[in-house]
Assembly symmetry: C2
Homo-oligomer: 326 residues x 2
């Protein structure tokens, strides 16, 4: 999926180096886990978090940068992301992820649990080897913790019809936006930018992360497996109520209650009815307004960055990523 970055040759080249670091850290003697790790890297995503990190490093002083160290920290972000994804798939019993069969459905939960754990150790390794001040080691540990707490809260709120929009936003802050925040903020910091740029970077990352997750949740209600490689309404059947549903449901809770009350016994037809209700009560339109406000906040903050080439790239990437057509 690195071809996504082909129009940005410098970034593309750096991400290739990051991919190599990922491969180097995915060597284990257990053949099942090794195969699982290889399939992960092959089906790899866009490497958004390393890309975000690397773009923000460019706001620093290039002459003082150690590119190897920067690439290693960029890799740590993707490894932490992969570790949490694998464990989420175990929790969700997800058959597919990014259109690919998940580790747990292909190799069993045993391999999936240990593969995720193994990736946590690699994250830990990379951070300890490449982050030299305690403050940033702590920030990494705390981010890992907040990602997990976001997941925990999401799990706890499953099938809870009383879940509020605020609770949803808090959960996606933890499970998605925190890591984008870390990527952008660390990129600026380790790139050697001024403190105010580092702070701005963090805010940009967080807003991009929020918009990204809201849009991802919207896609569950507007696309199908053909176009998106993701089982439609997958979250719904797992009791995860995302923004389009929450916003539509707020308009007419009584219309949703009987179907959602079936919890895990919801049928395909029920799911279709829910999708129609979400459409009828403008759930997607309202959710888009949230996504847009996060995107706007990100773009406003990007506008305040120093005028270098990376700023234009960042604007282009943000628009492309967050202004999907549907």
């Amino acid at each position: 999926m690195l071809q996504y970055w082909i129009q940005y040759p410098k970034l593309h080249k750096q991400l290739k180096a990051v991919t190599q670091i990922l491969s180097d850290h995915m060597v284990v003697s257990n053949p099942d886990v090794q195969e699982a790790l290889l399939s992960l890297t092959k089906s790899g995503g866009k490497m958004l978090r390393p890309a975000m990190f690397l773009l923000f490093t460019q706001f620093g002083d290039k002459t003082k940068q150690d590119q190897d160290r920067l690439n290693n920290i960029a890799a740590s972000l993707e490894i932490l992301h992969m570790a949490t994804l694998i464990h989420d798939d175990v929790i969700d019993d997800s058959p597919l992820r990014r259109g690919q069969v998940t580790i747990q459905s292909q190799y069993g939960k045993d391999v999936a649990v240990y593969t995720g754990d193994f990736l946590f150790t690699q994250f830990f390794d990379l951070i300890i080897d490449n982050v030299d001040d305690r403050e940033y080691l702590n920030i990494n540990a705390q981010t890992m913790e907040r990602i997990l707490l976001g997941e925990l809260n999401q799990m706890y709120k499953r099938f809870d019809q009383a879940e509020t929009v605020e609770e949803y936003l808090e959960n996606i802050t933890g499970k998605t936006a925190e890591l984008f925040w870390l990527a952008a903020m660390e990129g600026a910091h380790f790139g050697g930018t001024r403190d105010d740029v580092t702070k701005l970077a963090g805010s940009i990352g967080k807003n991009i992360g929020m918009a990204f997750q809201v849009l991802d949740d919207i896609l569950d209600y507007v696309s199908d497996t053909e176009t998106l490689k993701k089982p439609v309404l997958e979250d719904l059947t797992q009791g995860i109520y995302t923004l389009p549903l929450l916003l539509a449901k707020a308009q007419a809770p009584e219309a949703f209650a009987p179907i959602l009350g079936k919890r895990q016994h919801i049928t395909d037809d029920d799911a279709k009815t829910i999708a129609q209700l979400v459409d009828q009560y403008d759930g997607v339109t309202k959710a888009k307004a949230y996504a847009n406000s996060y995107t706007d906040a990100a773009l406003d903050a990007i506008a305040q960055l120093p005028d270098i080439k990376a700023k234009k790239v960042l604007q282009g990437v943000t628009k492309e990523l967050l202004e999907r057509s549907y």
Copy 2:
């Protein structure tokens, strides 16, 4: 289970402080995970790893020690131990651990996976906050990795009748002895002992860990649920072939092959037959000889420690722990 240490008042008091640190690090807003964490601390084991750590700190210079920091590092060892135990139980689908219902069987694998992950973050936190040199941060990361690789190899060797004694010993080195090595070695180091004592401590810890695991595996073949609170032959039915079986099987592989060939479809009667065969071919006696040689190596190394009170305690604890009656 802290009463195990009641005859050593100083250690007992320190371990109480460590227990408090554990409780402080086990606070999450998710009520299921919180309940799971509380049940873990309540059913807690003997805290062998923190105890080992604290005993070795006493070989250092007390006037230079920061007891809070030492207690925190001691707690990190128990947290890492608990995290790996919980994920092992998910893998094994174990109904019981230490005679208690496991997290995964009581709360489901979702809670178990995240509870283990949460404990990894707490381990990470404690280490970063209390270990100030990079060398020891690295040692911690590497130990976490080696424990996991030991587990992975054990998983990979399941139902493998060609598994060798050497492979078994390598796996238990990773899954058990490495953490005892870390506990003893770090206790000596952070207690402020000389480098040669730190090295000796590591060797003592490792040998105690090896003896401890071999004895634990022997118990699977000699006790029953009444006396040991552990399902007898649990490992066997999961395809984990431990030392008594491996040593007996080496005498007459053809006697074992047909039954073990049934893999997970082994019956209770089959398991009993295996137990009889292990007895007939002196598996337990031979395994005991291994345990004894590790215990002797530990005691020999302890004898070389400086003559302070903690040395006598260490001798007593080692003998009590490793010279079980059966």
